[in-house]
């Protein structure tokens, strides 16, 4: 397989797929909300943002939930078509799933359907009820997902241990200190303080507080691990031509994407301190013609600090080996030169399972649409979105830019 291939569409193509609307519900512990209710409400929020009604949608893509196989089946078997009044109207409703990188792949899939003409307007829906689920049940489930049952399950591996293996290797390879790693969490919290939808809105955090929390899996402290949350996000994509016809001048397009599946089993990753980010970034940059200097904001999967520090290095946003110290310098903070995870990320907005990556994608689109309110990054034109699934099996990179009249 060649490492480079061009997109068959560009910013001038009538069938260029664009984001036109986003929706989000607050993430955290919301026992008084429910799964189908949240999906319905978030769908309507995204459609309203796109100045649409359900009947404008011909295809629904579902992002999976992990809290319940029964709820998952509702998604797979088109329940949302019925809930949104689209019976007999909707062409297709189906699920796409690659764990934490699902949102990147859902964007690719929606783009392909739109560009090829198989779909005109795609609604992508996500809801997770992790925050209200039974914690022990979720821990058990997370100790079985993305871990080979024959070879690694007998060791007693689980998700925090996977994050710890990555963080330990990263710290060793880059000589990063515990305080450097904790600084990533503090940057994310600063952003969450600007996001009323974030789980940790209104709860400041310091490096000292992170480092004084108990060690759960060396070198990870409790406050360096993501908290399971309820949450829901949605977005709408259509063709540039359809957006224009509907008078939607402010849109976001995909300038290119790249990906790299670097392992399935964490024990088979060639370099746990780097993962697949550099290869994914190279592919995305080659497809788009962008380089690191073109990027103004970043929204990257951040279940553990080292996943994010290895990503900013692989993307070339900082010098190799300097990711954690780069965060500690404040460059990714509100007001910094390279704002990162401006919703607070999964570590501070809440880990909504597969939805954590979706929330980051939607935040990137929100910033480029200029709808981020108090945390809006002035004149943001270009954003990188990074996702990864399972035991960080893949690195997925989307390069997004403003399109329509807002583009410069």
């Amino acid at each position: 397989m060649s490492d480079t291939w061009p997109l068959n569409i560009n910013a001038k193509s009538p069938n260029d797929p664009v984001f036109i609307g986003i929706g989000e519900l607050p993430s955290g512990k919301y026992p008084n909300r429910n799964f189908i209710g949240d999906l319905t409400h978030v769908a309507l929020l995204a459609l309203k943002d796109a100045q649409m009604v359900p009947r404008d949608v011909d295809t629904i893509l579902l992002i999976p939930n992990l809290h319940s196989a029964f709820d998952q089946a509702d998604l797979i078997f088109s329940r949302m078509a019925e809930e949104l009044g689209l019976i007999g109207h909707l062409k297709s409703s189906f699920m796409v799933h690659s764990g934490g990188s699902t949102s990147d792949n859902a964007t690719r899939l929606a783009s392909g359907l739109i560009a090829s003409g198989h779909a005109r307007t795609v609604l992508v829906l996500q809801c997770e009820r992790w925050g209200s689920a039974d914690v022990n049940e979720m821990v058990t489930m997370l100790s079985k997902y993305g871990i080979p049952n024959e070879w690694e399950m007998p060791t007693g591996l689980q998700f925090n241990a996977i994050g710890a293996l990555i963080q330990r290797r990263y710290m060793h390879a880059t000589n990063s200190s515990a305080a450097d790693m904790a600084a990533v969490c503090v940057t994310l919290r600063k952003w969450a303080l600007l996001n009323p939808n974030a789980m940790y809105y209104g709860k400041p955090l310091t490096v000292e507080k992170v480092l004084s929390s108990k060690v759960v899996a060396d070198p990870l402290h409790a406050l360096e691990c993501p908290m399971l949350a309820d949450g829901a996000v949605a977005f709408v994509m259509t063709s540039a031509e359809n957006a224009k016809r509907r008078g939607l001048d402010n849109t976001v397009r995909v300038a290119g994407s790249g990906g790299c599946v670097s392992h399935y089993s964490v024990g088979q990753e060639a370099d746990l301190g780097k993962l697949g980010w550099a290869t994914a970034a190279k592919r995305a940059y080659e497809q788009s013609g962008w380089g690191p200097k073109d990027i103004q904001i970043a929204q990257i999967y951040d279940t553990y600090a080292a996943v994010m520090t290895s990503a900013v290095e692989g993307l070339g946003l900082c010098e190799p080996g300097e990711g954690a110290r780069w965060f500690a310098s404040g460059v990714a903070d509100p007001g910094g030169k390279m704002p990162c995870n401006t919703n607070g990320g999964m570590l501070s907005a809440g880990h909504t399972g597969v939805g954590g990556g979706t929330a980051l994608l939607v935040e990137g689109v929100r910033q480029l649409l200029g709808r981020a309110g108090e945390r809006q990054v002035a004149d943001a034109q270009r954003c990188v979105v990074g996702g990864t699934g399972g035991s960080y099996m893949d690195a997925q990179v989307l390069l997004l830019e403003r399109a329509g009249k807002g583009a410069q």
């Binding site: 058990t140 080979p148 024959e150 399950m153 007693g156 710890a164 060793h172 964490v266 746990l272």
Partner: protein
């Protein structure tokens, strides 16, 4: 549990104190984890090679809370990714020192497969590695 001779042969060897790595009978390359067809040449003729289990510790962690169901009695325990000198890699458990600590482990140090696993309340079908005394 489904029938899986590859898994069963690997685990039977561990129980005997041997570490096996899959070897393709056609191209001769080693595969870890063991596969159902050789990922190098797609051959279905696959066998085993016993290895000493010496390698480099790529990364490790000590899990202190939040063990998976059925592993609570093992806490705390250490996991490590070992790059074997044979050119393949795997996840295993790390043997603690006499005081029950893992402070003597470092990334990139040499470790070795321990044929007789340390005493455990529940024996696990995984490889154990220990720091080599140089």
């Amino acid at each position: 549990m489904s029938v899986n001779p590859i898994r069963d042969e690997f685990r039977a060897a561990l129980a005997r104190g041997e570490l096996l790595v899959q070897k393709c009978n056609d191209c001769g390359k080693l595969n870890m984890y063991p596969r159902h067809a050789c990922p190098h040449c797609q051959s279905l003729s696959l066998g085993w090679q016993q290895v000493r289990g010496r390698g480099v510790l790529h990364s490790y962690t000590v899990l202190r809370v939040g063990a998976p169901e059925g592993f609570d009695q093992d806490l705390p325990y250490a996991l490590g990714v070992v790059k074997l000198e044979d050119g393949v890699q795997m996840l295993g458990r790390l043997v603690p020192d006499a005081q029950g600590n893992w402070d003597h482990y470092r990334c990139d140090q040499t470790v070795e497969f321990q044929p007789v696993p340390p005493e455990q309340k529940t024996p696990r079908a995984c490889a154990w590695f220990t720091a080599t005394s140089l």
